[in-house]
Each structure stands twice: as structure tokens, then as C-alpha cells.
């Protein structure tokens, strides 16, 4: 009789352990599947602009909306490097700065269509790239820190001043493995490069 009761208790304990494992697996699956619920950025390309035929781009200085004073310059360098790897020519950044000084443009925030036309003519390019950095740094998550980079890039037609391409892109938060198992995530520079590359992939 005792043997029978012991075996029943043993079976019940096994049942509890099984339920716990099942619960753990369900929760893990749920957490893993919820991991991919981030928001997907969209982009815009003017249909009649022929963005695929671009041969040379002038990348203007990027506007900085972060507390890191050098974030914009870092992003600009990455944008130039990525455009060059796509096989498209880029105007020397110093040449662009020189033209901006000659034209007495103090702030890119107030660059008018007239200025865009004039710059395009002087630099000998059909398109100009403008941009801004909205986030660049290490952010605090619930249990971990992670690099956060957000950029907005726009391509303007040098003749009309119209926006022919626009892309806003941001990095995602920490991955499942970083949050729960402390695995090493990408660095800030790697994240910035990925964000820039993904944004430019929608154009070139």
C-alpha cells in the first residue's frame, strides 16, 4: 500500500516538473517570438525621378539633434563611405564645405531651393544629400544598455529642389540573447554602420 502511495506521489511530482518545464518552454517561445515586434521604417522614392541612374552625389553636412557633438560628422563619413562602396561617386567633403562658405550659408536648417540649385550647379552634381541624426549613443534598457542610432536621409533634385528619396532608419533595441543571457551586442559604431547601410540600400 505504501509502495503504491509513494509511486503515486512520485508520479505527481513528475507531473509538476513536466508542467513547470512546459510553462518555461511556452514563456521562452513567447519571449522569443515577441522579440521581433519592432516597428519597420518606411522609405519614399519619387517614381519619375530615376534615382537608380545617379552617378555623383554631394553629401551636405548632417544636422545633429543629439547631445554628442561629433555624431553628425561620424554619420556623414559613414554615408560617404557607404555610397562609395555602392559604386557611386561622391564630391569631396571639403569642396562642399568650401561652397557653403562661399555662399555664406550658416545653417543647413534654412537651405532654400534657390541655394540648392546654386550649389548643385557649382558642384556639378544632379543630386544633393541632406540628413539628420536623431539618436546616437548608448541607451538604458530594462536590464541592459544598448547602442541606439536614428538617422533621416533625403536626396534632393538639384534642378527642382524636390525630394526624390527619403529614408528614416533606426537601430533596434537589445536582442533576446543580450537581454536574457548577457551575450555581447554590436558596438555603437557597428550599429551606426548598419543603420546607414540599411537606409542607403533602399536607394542604391
Amino acid at each position: 500500500m505504501l509502495d503504491f502511495m509513494n509511486s503515486t506521489e512520485h508520479r505527481s511530482n513528475r507531473g509538476h516538473a513536466g508542467a513547470c518545464i512546459a510553462l518555461f518552454l511556452v514563456l521562452s517561445c513567447l519571449l522569443f517570438s515577441l522579440d521581433g515586434c519592432g516597428v519597420r521604417p518606411k522609405y519614399y522614392t519619387r517614381p519619375d525621378a530615376g534615382a537608380g541612374k545617379i552617378r555623383k552625389i554631394a553629401v551636405l553636412p548632417i544636422e545633429n539633434f543629439t547631445s554628442d557633438g561629433l555624431a553628425a560628422e561620424r554619420i556623414r563619413k559613414l554615408v560617404i563611405a557607404e555610397i562609395l562602396t555602392k559604386g557611386v561617386d561622391v564630391v569631396e567633403p571639403g569642396e562642399v564645405s568650401s561652397v557653403l562658405i562661399d555662399m555664406k550659408i550658416k545653417s543647413l536648417n534654412s537651405l532654400s531651393i534657390k541655394d540648392i540649385r546654386e550649389m548643385s550647379k557649382t558642384l556639378g552634381v544632379e543630386v544633393l544629400m541632406l540628413g539628420s541624426v536623431e539618436a546616437y549613443g548608448i541607451s538604458n534598457g530594462i536590464s541592459t544598455t544598448y547602442p541606439e542610432v536614428s538617422i533621416h536621409l533625403t536626396l534632393l533634385d538639384g534642378a527642382t529642389g524636390n525630394v526624390i528619396w527619403s529614408a528614416w532608419n533606426t537601430s533596434e533595441g537589445p536582442s533576446f540573447w543580450t537581454r536574457h543571457f548577457g551575450s555581447e551586442g554590436p558596438t555603437l559604431s557597428e550599429t551606426a554602420r548598419k543603420v546607414v547601410r540599411n537606409a542607403l540600400n533602399t536607394l542604391l
Binding site: P41, E134, S166, W168
Partner: protein, 214 residues
């Protein structure tokens, strides 16, 4: 023989007590889980209110100028960040063409209003003619940043967007939306939460959807 019966009775009572305690534990656990799931649902997440003029045909809007946002937060760039996302989302949604932001600022500089919130109807009409647009997007950022509740921090953003008709200067659409706090799964099980940038994108997209759906 009676001894065996006595131990059987004792074991039976113990088993009964164990079962009762087990049931009670399961009941309490169930109650706690229910409370954790349903209580946060009362105030968290994203809430929105919007107004749209029913007598206006929005089909005439082909080109929009997004004016600089009023920044009512402690973050000096909050207005600029939200403005960039609004421009990007307006273009991506295909709702209308957007004027280059610099052109808008240059036109405003020439006109010289004290602030965007002090723009009169006549000034809006004049600006519309200068920029050759049919409507303006105006707005403000009321909250922008990370909010800390207990040991959990999560993004909190609150924005108001308005669409003004450049011909009459009247507001034809307005929407206010707030988002904030970490969800149930994030707070209790460490599930993924949106970054501040993702939250900005989500809130702007959701706000503009009230217009694009219409």
C-alpha cells in the same frame, strides 16, 4: 494490523492537506497572474483623440509644408526629431509631396513671425502662396524621453499634430496621441521594449494614420 490502518489514515490526511495547500497555491498564483495581466491594461499603451473636418475634401492637398514643431519638453531637439519623422512618414505614406524643410524655415525667416504658435491666418495664407502648398502641418511635442517607474524605464512621448488649410488658414485635422510605459511582458519577463526612436516612429505613424485612413 490496526497499526497499518492508523498509518494509512495518517498518510491519507497528509495527502489531503498537501492537495488542499497545492490547490490554494495554484489559486493564489492564478489570481496574481490575472491581476498582473489585467491591472496594467487600464492605463498603459497608446491613447489618441482626433478631429477631422467632415466637410473638407482632402483630395485637393498635393503638397504640404511641415512647420517647425513647438517644443514643450526639456529635450532641446525633441521638436526637430519629431518633425523629421513626420516629414519622412508623410512622404512614405504617399499622402502628399513635402516641401524641403529648409525652404520652409527660409520663408518663415523672411516673414519674421515671433513664433510658430503666433502665426495668424493671414500669415498662413501668405506662407501658403510663397511655398506653393495647399496645407501646413503644425504641431507640438509635449513629452519626449524616458520615464522611470519603479525599477523599469520606458519611453514616454506625447504629440499633437494639426493640418491647416493654406487657403483659409483654418484647422481641418488635428490629433493628439500619447504613448508610454513598458508592457506587461517587458516588466515581468524582460521582453523587448521599443527604443525611444522606435516609439517616436510608432506614435507619428499612428497619428498620421487617422488622416491617411480618412
Amino acid at each position: 494490523m490496526p497499526l497499518i490502518r492508523c498509518s494509512e489514515i495518517n498518510n491519507g490526511t497528509k495527502n489531503m492537506r498537501r492537495k488542499t495547500v497545492g490547490l490554494l497555491k495554484s489559486f493564489l498564483l492564478g489570481c496574481m497572474l490575472c491581476m498582473m495581466v489585467f491591472v496594467p491594461g487600464c492605463g498603459g499603451g497608446s491613447t489618441a483623440t482626433y478631429h477631422i473636418r467632415q466637410d473638407v475634401d482632402f483630395g485637393f492637398i498635393k503638397r504640404i509644408a511641415v512647420l517647425p514643431m513647438d517644443n514643450l519638453t526639456g529635450d532641446r531637439y525633441a521638436g526637430d526629431v519629431v518633425r523629421q519623422v513626420v516629414i519622412s512618414e508623410l512622404l512614405a505614406s504617399g499622402l502628399a509631396d513635402v516641401v524641403v524643410p529648409g525652404e520652409v524655415v527660409a520663408a518663415l525667416d523672411k516673414m519674421g513671425p515671433k513664433s510658430i504658435s503666433a502665426l495668424t491666418t493671414e500669415q498662413l495664407k501668405a506662407l501658403g502662396n510663397t511655398l506653393k502648398v495647399q496645407a501646413f502641418v503644425l504641431g507640438s511635442v509635449e513629452k519626449f524621453g524616458e520615464v522611470r517607474v519603479g525599477n523599469v524605464s520606458a519611453p514616454e512621448i506625447s504629440i499633437t499634430l494639426m493640418l491647416a488649410d493654406a487657403g483659409s488658414g483654418s484647422i481641418i485635422w488635428s490629433a493628439t496621441r500619447t504613448t508610454g510605459g513598458a508592457g506587461f511582458m517587458a516588466r515581468h519577463f524582460g521582453a523587448r521594449t521599443d527604443t525611444l526612436s522606435e516609439s517616436v516612429l510608432k506614435i507619428v505613424r499612428a497619428t498620421l494614420q487617422t488622416l491617411t485612413k480618412y
